[in-house]
């Protein structure tokens, strides 16, 4: 599709898009024609052959060589085409590098939808197929909410739960009633011709338009990267307000249809709210537990594990909808519950599948929703009334701003971190309306609402305004106001340690004060969780520490990174690669033979790696155990080789570079010995690869290549792995009995493999330096054997932890 390496060619993807549009339009037209008149719609498709025999034929027809039977496949065909169109549009946008950063995708998608709607409308003078509210609520909305709930930062969410709840419930109430009443006031002014709209109708309208939409919020906030706190407030609000929206909507709708309203009904409404909200959450949690429990037993049938996740969450949604409870809250609760336990029960592959599939589904849903919104806008469903529409918009903005401001003043008293004006502004500005109000307005029964078209128009205007104007301007505003952005740095183990330490300190102090704060409850929950829930729901329950798991994750990740970057450091491989690619044809010297062989071995690995890894923009690459093993084998491999090369090199040039001192070879016999020693004590992973490596070493007998070695050394100078020196020190000492301490084998907790290249600076801690220095000086000039061994063993030590530093 012309997306590749060259400059973006906008024309190319548009052609298929246009083609698809044409087909869709034609298909729609034809389908209608076919179904209406039972005539074969051959003309549009230009087949020119006799159609399939209709049911009423009583004359004999000859055997048809080629038939077209569109109605047979119409529905799946059209669905597929729609989804295809949506995805192609998405590709198209991303070709313009700058576009997604200026204009959020949602706007572009709506525009495409408008275009398409226009075409269909133009083609047949009728309103295009409006997005069915059922389709939206039952099929398009759940994946998005599921995705959001599954990846929700739970800790942050619960820390801010009070605020989120406050905004969602009281804020939405405030908005709904405020907008309803002020619109009613406007309607009373007879000049606008709106006097037939009753108070209740206005209140209903207010309730459906005050709902902040999670889809729109996600779509817009995704690109602007505000700090997590702000994001979770707006997003959490958009999720939780579903409960109140459902209640208010149903309440006012039934009120509109009832003749008299008694006080009891109002209380029933309030009770309904609690039932809707709490009931939804309970259903979600219950099904989440069932899902976790189910996955406990799926270790024999890994392939269908992801299915359970999706089925149970969808089940929670439609069960809640069945009882007219809040489906969004149910599915969010289910996802958040499942996430914790399922993650540990399913295999790595299943986990990746779940993540990836979820993202894909939600992406498709979101795209479709916006396109449908665009398509449905075009048509004859509108009634324009300047006053109503403009005042609706005005009141939406005013009441939202007022509401956020007033509510924040109140909630700041209870908050530990007060919200600043900037925060409030972004929260108010981020209150985007979207597809939910759109669908809700289409669901209004026209019998009760004679002015339904007016409502539709007003809703559309508000949605377009918020999505387009607010969506586009929020990014520059965020920059202008200098709102704190999320710092997407790599999760660091030290940070995790600090955070945990800090939590415990806080809890401890709270205990000393006798104060039951947040931490108290969180601690209590954790204890309960560990004691009962985890035992029940997780298959091989091992008490997990977030520090350890993070550490392991990072180790694996870095091992993968190392493999991708081509072993030791990025530059050598790319340099050698470029040399290769620029390959002028000349007779291959032995140097180049080595070069090529190196490249081949590296690339071979990478190719395999590529087929196994995913690369979606929001997912991190997950590691595979085997992969990581391989990486380490190869890494060790190449280190060995380079060592051997550097050995001969440094013998020839005892030159000035500092690092050279480290790069001399041990007597080769020493290596296997050390390896074997470690073999006995190292983990499973080590064992198999060790033997492999030994074998491999003997096979590969590469001769030194000056260029590469020099490069390597230069690079090693820049980022020399210190562990090498540090670790080895221990071995040296141990073997020479200098200090005779800590000859412990370093065993690893199973998956900890590899080591972080980027973190490898050269710290040496405490007393080590002095001893090292003396060692250095002692063996400086002639290449010191101990140093060498250190370097080599570093290779092996890749698997093992850097530790045992003599202190």
């Amino acid at each position: 599709m012309g997306g590749g390496g060259g400059p973006p060619r906008p024309a190319a993807p548009l052609l298929p898009v246009l083609a698809v549009l044409a087909v869709l339009a034609a298909g729609a037209a034809e389908a209608r024609a076919t179904s209406e008149s039972q005539l074969p719609g051959a003309a549009a498709m230009g087949t020119g052959t006799p159609p399939s025999p209709s049911g009423t034929a009583f004359e004999e027809t000859r055997l048809h060589v080629f038939t077209l039977d569109y109605p047979h496949v119409q529905i799946p065909f059209e669905i597929t085409l729609w989804i295809l169109l949506a995805s192609l549009a998405k590709i198209g946008f991303h070709l313009y590098h700058k576009l997604p950063s200026i204009v959020p995708e949602s706007c572009l998608l709506i525009l495409v939808g408008l275009l398409l709607g226009g075409i269909i409308f133009g083609a047949e003078e009728k309103s295009p197929p409006v997005m069915n509210s059922d389709v939206f609520f039952l099929y398009l909305l759940p994946p998005i909410v599921l995705d959001a709930g599954y990846f929700m930062p739970t800790r942050l969410f619960f820390e801010n739960f009070g605020t989120i709840f406050w905004y969602a419930v009281v804020g939405t109430l405030w908005n709904a009633i405020g907008i309803g009443i002020s619109l009613y006031g406007i309607c009373q002014i007879s000049a606008f011709g709106l006097t037939d709209i009753t108070l209740l109708q206005n209140l209903l309208f207010g309730s459906l338009i005050s709902a902040v939409d999670p889809v729109a919020v996600l779509a817009v906030f995704e690109n602007i990267h505000v700090n997590e706190q702000l994001y979770i407030l707006v997003f959490g609000e958009s999720l939780l307000n579903d409960a109140i929206t459902v209640v208010l909507y149903n309440l006012f709708k039934s009120f509109c249809q009832m003749r008299t309203i008694k006080v009891i009904d109002i209380f029933a409404g309030i009770a309904n709210f609690f039932i809707v909200g709490i009931g939804g959450v309970l259903i979600g949690i219950l099904l989440g537990f069932v899902a976790a429990f189910t996955t406990r037993f799926t270790h024999k049938i890994r392939v269908i594990e992801p299915l359970f996740v999706f089925l149970y969450s969808y089940l929670s949604y439609i069960t809640a909808e069945m009882f007219h409870l809040s489906g969004i809250m149910a599915i969010t609760a289910c996802a958040m519950t499942m996430n914790k336990y399922v993650e540990e029960n399913v295999s790595q592959k299943s986990y990746t599948t779940i993540k990836y599939f979820m993202k894909m589904l939600s992406s498709v849903s979101e795209t479709l929703i916006f396109i449908f919104m665009g398509v449905s806008t075009v048509g004859k469903n509108h009634e324009w009334n300047w006053a109503f529409v403009s005042f609706t918009l005005l009141f939406c903005l005013i009441w939202r701003a007022l509401g956020v401001f007033v509510l924040t003043q109140i909630i700041n008293v209870f908050r530990t971190i007060p919200l600043t004006f900037k925060d409030q502004f972004i929260i108010a500005y981020g209150g985007l309306r979207g597809a939910i109000c759109f669908s809700l307005v289409f669901l209004l029964p026209p019998a009760v609402f004679p002015r339904k078209k007016l409502f539709i128009t007003a809703v559309i205007v508000v949605i377009f305004f918020t999505v387009f104007i607010q969506g586009i301007t929020i990014r520059p505003l965020v920059e202008f106001l200098d709102v704190k952005r999320s710092n997407k740095k790599q999760p660091a183990v030290s940070e995790e340690i600090y955070n945990r330490f800090f939590d415990h300190v806080k809890t401890g102090i709270e205990d000393v004060c006798g104060h039951w704060g947040h931490n108290f409850w969180r601690d209590k929950f954790k204890k309960f969780d560990n004691k009962y829930l985890r035992r029940l729901l997780i298959r091989e329950n091992q008490p997990k520490s977030s520090i350890v798991s993070l550490y392991k994750k990072l180790e694996i990740k870095h091992a993968i990174e190392m493999a991708e970057s081509g072993m030791i450091s990025k530059v050598p491989s790319s340099v050698s690669l470029s040399e290769y690619h620029e390959g002028k044809i000349k007779p291959l010297s032995p140097t180049e033979m080595e070069n090529m062989r190196e490249i081949l071995t590296k690339n071979l690995y990478q190719i395999r790696h590529r087929t196994m890894s995913y690369n979606r923009h929001s997912l991190a690459a997950d590691a595979n155990e085997k992969q990581a093993k391989e990486i380490l084998i190869r890494r060790r491999h190449s280190l060995r080789e380079s060592l051997r090369k550097t050995n001969s090199l440094s013998r020839e040039r005892p030159a000035a570079a500092n690092t050279k001192r480290f790069l001399s070879l041990p007597k080769n016999t020493k290596l296997p010995e050390k390896l074997r020693v470690r073999n006995k004590t190292s983990s499973r992973v080590g064992d198999s690869s060790d033997s492999e490596m030994d074998a491999a070493t003997t096979v590969l007998n590469l001769r030194p290549r000056a260029g590469k070695i020099l490069r390597d050394q230069r690079l090693r100078q820049q980022r020399p792995p210190p562990e090498f020196r540090v670790e080895w020190k221990n071995e040296v000492d141990g073997s020479q009995d200098r200090q005779g301490e800590q000859q412990e084998p370093s065993t690893l907790p199973q998956p900890s493999i590899g080591f972080r290249q980027p973190l490898l600076t050269r710290p040496r801690f405490g007393t080590l330096s002095r001893e090292d220095l003396t060692a250095d000086h002692g063996s400086a000039r002639p290449v010191p054997p101990p140093r060498l061994v250190r370097q080599a063993s570093q290779g092996e030590r890749q698997r093992n932890k850097p530790e045992n530093q003599p202190y």
Binding site: T416, I417, P418, K489, A492, V493, S494, E495, I497, Y498, R500, F501, H504, V505, K506, T507, G508, E510, D511, V512, C513, G514, H515, W516, G517, D523, K527, Q542, P543, S545, I547, V548, Y551, L554, N658, T659, Q718, P722, E744, S746, L748, P749, S752, R756, P758, L759, L760, T761, R762, P763, F765, G766, L768, S769, L773, K801, P802, E803, Q805, Y807
Partner: protein, 214 residues
């Protein structure tokens, strides 16, 4: 409250010095009396009477922090044997929430104080830097609640974290450089992204929930 501390003048002085309101001071005083069993001072043993603290993995360090003379703003070093109410308040003042009317400089000082408190908890030998051994100690204590974890893993984690710290604080080091330990400045650097001043506080409001039946 039959002790001398309830005299309003003293209270006001305490309030000024530590920044608490008189209401909070009264609450904390009540708690102090509970802990000290109506004595004037608290010793380490008194902290044993807090049941929930037993489960805290870094219990030792927390209790230690109360008696650390550096935290008590005294010039000397080492550990005090017992602390009186004023010292108790001093320690608690590290956990005060920020006020909206603080200016930049005050906020900065506030933040530094809180971080210094944390730093002292890490640096157990009082030499002004967190060495690898001390760090390991911390990590081991943190993970001590986990019976399945081997000592080596805790150690390797600590080493890894120390490496990260070194790379953040010193960046690229020359081959002969030694990284002695995390000094307070480095510590500050590492906490730069995190709003410690907003996170590190306990709400001294709802003291009514104190379980008087401890």
């Amino acid at each position: 409250m039959g002790s001398a501390h309830s005299v309003p003048a003293e209270m006001r002085e305490l309030a000024d010095r530590t920044g608490f309101t008189s209401e909070q001071i009264e609450h904390l005083h009540r708690r102090f009396k509970q802990l000290s069993q109506d004595q004037l001072t608290i010793r380490k043993e008194n902290f044993d009477s807090i049941p929930d603290l037993e489960f805290n993995p870094i219990r030792g360090k927390i209790v230690h922090a109360f008696f650390d003379k550096r935290n008590l703003r005294q010039e000397s070093d080492g550990l005090a044997d017992e602390i009186n109410f004023e010292d108790f308040l001093t320690i608690m003042s590290y956990f005060r929430p920020i006020e909206m009317n603080m200016d930049e400089e005050q906020l900065d000082r506030f933040r530094k104080e809180k971080l210094k408190f944390l730093f002292h908890m890490y640096d157990s030998d009082h030499d002004g830097k967190i060495t690898l051994q001390e760090y390991r100690n911390v990590v081991e204590e943190l993970l001590s609640g986990n019976p399945h974890l081997e000592k080596e893993s805790a150690r390797s984690i600590a080493d890894g974290a120390m490496m990260e710290a070194a790379s953040i604080c010193v960046g690229q080091m020359g081959p002969d450089q030694v990284y002695e330990g995390i000094t307070f400045e480095d510590f500050l650097k590492m906490w730069q992204g995190i709003d410690i001043e907003t996170k590190m506080h306990v709400r001294f409001l709802n003291m009514e929930t104190i379980a008087h039946c401890y």
